[in-house]
């Protein structure tokens, strides 16, 4: 359970490691750090991260099939068993003082010798007229959250990734029809999910198509294709990838690549000593819960190693 009695939270203490983020990467990092007997704290805006919205996780070793939320509940149980404290907050700035960092939020400030940035990514927007106007009124970025509103209705999923395919498969359980609208030739889903999509009578793929506008009155009524065609629809689920949440890192002069992802080495180290990064916010090309956990675990070990070298008591 989070924050009750602010259990395990000490505002005066200099933590060995503060992990920023709330997804699998952050939790994997924290679990290992706890097992290294480090004083740790997780500060995250969204517990569960993006994977919490995934309805189907079938590629995490040891778990044949669960939902993203189910996976996170297991992670939370694991955190609780190690008494790892979690705070729902957002750090807005970090400064280095002597051999530790001070992290400022609007609500509290914290101190830590090392930091692991595992702030993940957020959904990309289409950036077209109507998208913002109809957010929550027909435009959605989360099928798990909003799918139940579209029972027996017609919806579309924008995008061609594996996530887009999974969103379509989830929505097809309840809606009348799902169109996957993809700008490319063929969707890029994992073969197992691609096969499921092709075999599902309720799902139809519209390829080589871009959407230029979302229209409606109080709710979404249609999307407009680049060709000018008006396509009637009740809901638009946007799944076109994500952008790294690396603004805080940039303020710290942590190096990022052109995509804004934090550059890390095989030890999950950044160019700034004492600051580590892992998961979707970092520059690994293949982003999965399992790869994020792996980088997070390595970050915990590297932070532990860093403290051994820089702190006498280690």
């Amino acid at each position: 359970m989070f924050n009750i009695d602010m259990e395990g939270i000490d505002l005066e203490k200099i933590y060995d490691l503060i992990v920023l983020g709330g997804g699998p990467t952050a939790i994997g990092c924290a679990i290992y750090a706890a097992r290294f007997a480090m004083d740790i704290l997780i500060i995250g805006k969204v517990f569960g991260g993006l994977i919490a919205t995934t309805h189907l996780v079938e590629n995490y070793p040891g778990i044949t099939s669960t939902s993203g939320q189910g996976l996170m509940e297991m992670f939370k149980d694991h955190m609780d068993s190690l008494s790892i404290p979690y705070i729902s907050d957002e750090i807005r700035s970090i400064e280095k003082i002597d051999d530790y960092f001070v992290l400022h939020s609007f609500f509290q400030q914290f101190k830590a010798y090392t930091i692991c940035i595992a702030t993940g990514s957020e959904r990309k927007k289409l950036g077209i007229p109507g998208e913002e106007e109809f957010a929550g009124r027909g435009v959605s970025y989360c099928a798990t959250c909003d799918g139940p509103f579209y029972k027996d209705k017609t919806v579309c999923v924008i995008g061609g990734s594996d996530s887009a395919a999974k969103e379509a498969l989830f929505l097809a359980q309840n809606v009348k029809k799902v169109y996957i609208i993809y700008r490319g030739e063929e969707i890029r889903a994992e073969p197992i999910n691609k096969k499921r999509v092709y075999e599902n009578d309720k799902i139809e793929i519209i390829n080589n198509t871009n959407i230029v506008e979302i229209k409606g009155d109080t709710k979404v009524k249609s999307v407009i294709f680049e060709s000018g065609k008006v396509f009637k629809i009740d809901g638009v689920f946007i799944e076109i990838g994500s952008l790294p949440n690396s603004d805080l890192a940039k303020k710290l002069e942590v190096e990022t690549n052109k995509k804004g992802e934090i550059k890390i080495n095989r030890k999950s180290e950044t160019n700034v000593p004492g600051i580590f990064a892992a998961g979707d916010v970092a520059d690994a090309p293949f982003k999965q819960a399992i790869t994020g956990v792996s980088e997070g675990v390595i970050a915990a070990y590297s932070a532990f190693d860093y403290l051994k070298q820089t702190k006498i008591e280690y």
């Binding site: 505002l11 919490a52 993203g68 939320q69 729902s88 609500f107 929550g136 959605s140 989360c142 709710k219």
Partner: protein, 227 residues
């Protein structure tokens, strides 16, 4: 262990940690049978009350749930503008309403509900210092949060809003609405996505929002920090 058993286990484990007394009010309705005995009239009230009794029974006598029927307490119902039942109310000793639930605290909503109960009972509130520092800049506000039981982000928004309500001593009031159980409210606000947060029936924040976004929306400007 079934999901229901797991949730009951969580309630049992967490409510046992309550150390201070706290009282909640629940408004229901009732009707009389031909023999004169009274039964709960609202469709969900029995199930709702059974759930709340699980919280109460596991609190070592510290949580009291007072059931008020709308028929026997018309003045109370009028004062608090009770439009539908069941309604859970967190009201302080001065009669100020902090939090209202038009939703059953089950599934993912267990955690924010328990946390609200604990903080309402006097447990430390993480957001309190900054809320108090900025309180003069916040107009009396109502945060209506539309949720569903399937939504992974809803409990997180509800947690923050509830804590804000308690820290502000009701100057910010939270109303948690399950829009599957209250579809007319969802339709009224054209909500087809959750979490869907409406501030004073004017401003809408869609999707997962953190404490900074909620506070900024309440203040309408820069946040003064206090630590």
């Amino acid at each position: 262990m079934s999901q229901d058993e797991k949730y009951k286990e969580i309630i049992k484990r967490e409510m046992a940690k309550l150390t201070r007394p706290v009282k909640l009010k629940v408004v229901t309705s009732q009707s009389a049978k031909p023999d004169g005995t009274k039964i709960r009239a609202c469709m969900d009230c029995d199930q709702f009350m059974s759930l709340l009794r699980v919280y109460e029974e596991n609190s070592i006598g510290l949580l009291t749930i007072e059931e008020l029927t709308i028929d026997d307490n018309p003045d109370f119902a009028k004062r608090y503008d009770i439009q539908r039942v069941p309604t859970i109310l967190l009201i302080d000793q001065q009669g100020r309403e902090y939090i209202r639930y038009l939703a059953a605290p089950q599934g993912g909503e267990i955690q924010p509900f328990i946390q609200a109960v604990f903080t309402f009972a006097g447990a430390p509130n993480y957001y309190e210092a900054t809320i108090k520092k900025n309180l003069d800049r916040i107009s009396p506000s109502t945060l209506k949060i539309m949720i569903t039981n399937q939504c992974p982000y809803c409990p997180q928004v509800v947690t923050i809003a509830n804590q804000f309500a308690i820290a502000s001593e009701g100057k910010v009031r939270t109303v948690v609405v399950d829009i599957m159980a209250n579809p007319d409210i969802g339709q009224y606000y054209d909500a087809a996505g959750v979490p869907y947060t409406i501030i004073n029936d004017q401003k809408t924040l869609v999707g997962m929002i953190g404490p900074n976004e909620i506070l900024r929306a309440l203040i309408g400007g820069n946040i003064s920090v206090q630590y």
